[in-house]
Amino acid sequence: MTAAPTAVPAAGTGREPNHGLRIVAIWLPIALAADLLIWFVWGPHLPPGDLSNSAASQQSDLTVMAVLAAPVMAFVLVFAGYALVVWRHREGDDEDGPPIHGNTRVSVAWIAITSALVLSLAVFGTAELVNPAGAGAGEGNTPIWKPGGGAPLQVQVIAQQWRFTYRYPQFGGFESTTLMLPVGQNVQFNVTSLDVIHSFWAYQLGVKADANPDVDNVAYTRPLHTGAVTVRCAELCGLWHADMTTAGRVVTVAAFRGWATATRTQLAPLTKNLPPFTLTYDPNAVAQLGKAFQKAGLSGAGGQYYGPQYPVQP
């Protein structure tokens, strides 16, 4: 503040301008412009896109968050800029400004606005989690939020160091390294692992679910458009974690059915060697392993991959 408390104001300079009104007048068009840009220009390009309903939901959530955050950020910046320009220290002004604590109106407004923002976002966030059936996140083996509209296409995601494979139980249980999905149909991912902890992250689908051994982690989505999907492991899982990727596709229903039928036929000799479809697999206790060990003259008795005679770590 430049005015000294003891000084008599000169004529024409005694009225302090309405700083609050000035700040709002500067802030309002900036906030409005920022929100319009976010909603109409930036929002449609925010990750992860709109390939699926869960991805589109995440994109709209990010847009809403950005629209709400932009005015707050703009206000802080405008206030800081205004203070730097108007209330900056001037030559010869060595006195403190007046104390401004205890302003009930400002305190109430601050608490009310921030509370309204946070509580409304909490309600909005919860609704957004429920609405697209878990928002693409893993819901564990007993999912609370399930999509309506009939039985979904079931795809089992099997993670192993360092590759994802996919089983399609509704098409004879064949297993493939290719993730192929039909557009417009609900998909249920049953995510599990054969060894360590991985994470199935189908970026463009907005699906991310941990892959734990002996755990069935369910996630839902519904592809809205055809297009490419990149699957990455999102849990540091060993030497080639960074290389644990899969290229997938969302295709038309007819193309998917054609692919699934052809792959089922092509992989029939392999599929009959696979264990029956279950939600999890214990690769360390496979009944058939005992036969293989016997044939090889090895001592892996009881179908255990490595018998109890071997320590966990050297």
Binding site: Q161, R163, D195, Y281, L289, K291, Y310, P314
Partner: protein
Amino acid sequence: MSLAARVATLIVAVFAVAGGAIFAVAHYLLGGPPTVDFAAGPSGQVSVVMQTDASSSPAAVPDHPTWVSYFIRAPATGRWIHTTLFQVPAHTRVNVTIFGYDGSTPVRNQYWGQVTGTVGGVAHYGGKPVQTVNGWNGPYLVQHTFAIPGLNLNVPVEAGPATCTAGPCTGNAHSTTTFSFETPAQPGAYRWQCFVPCGLSYLDGNGGPMQTIGYMTGNMQVAS
């Protein structure tokens, strides 16, 4: 302590720390297994010969664990090199021979019993073509796999009739798995790995040699 002595001490300390850092970085960058370079022969093809062993002899892996391991035969000398790094030319047919000196270690996911990405979609066990191997029930048993995920290449390696525990082995009974594949036109590094968790004594077989370049995983460098 005089100013000169303090300055000298500081300089020595700075050089010691810098030298240590340089040594550590150089040791990390240069201390890995060697790369075996394969050039195309007169036919325009490359022959890569490898072997798998249940464990390595201490003499073959001085200062390193004697884990289960791949070895690669150097084309110029015929010597077995303890490495999993090799270089091949781009857009070239590679004929691979793997001598199996390890016993049965069945694939956990039977999916990896399928031969993919090879010329003709087949591998040969002792000269007999195979496409899908049931490593749990036979008739062929599997010990390891040779897989290059970036090329969708996967070959289950036939289990040997005996287990050699002092790799690299030469005179012992072994299986012979052969297959061919085409290297891509695009130069680059393609990681390869075994999909059978065979790190005996490690948690579920996933640690140790499975995670260490030079044992059960490595890189194929495709050169232009």
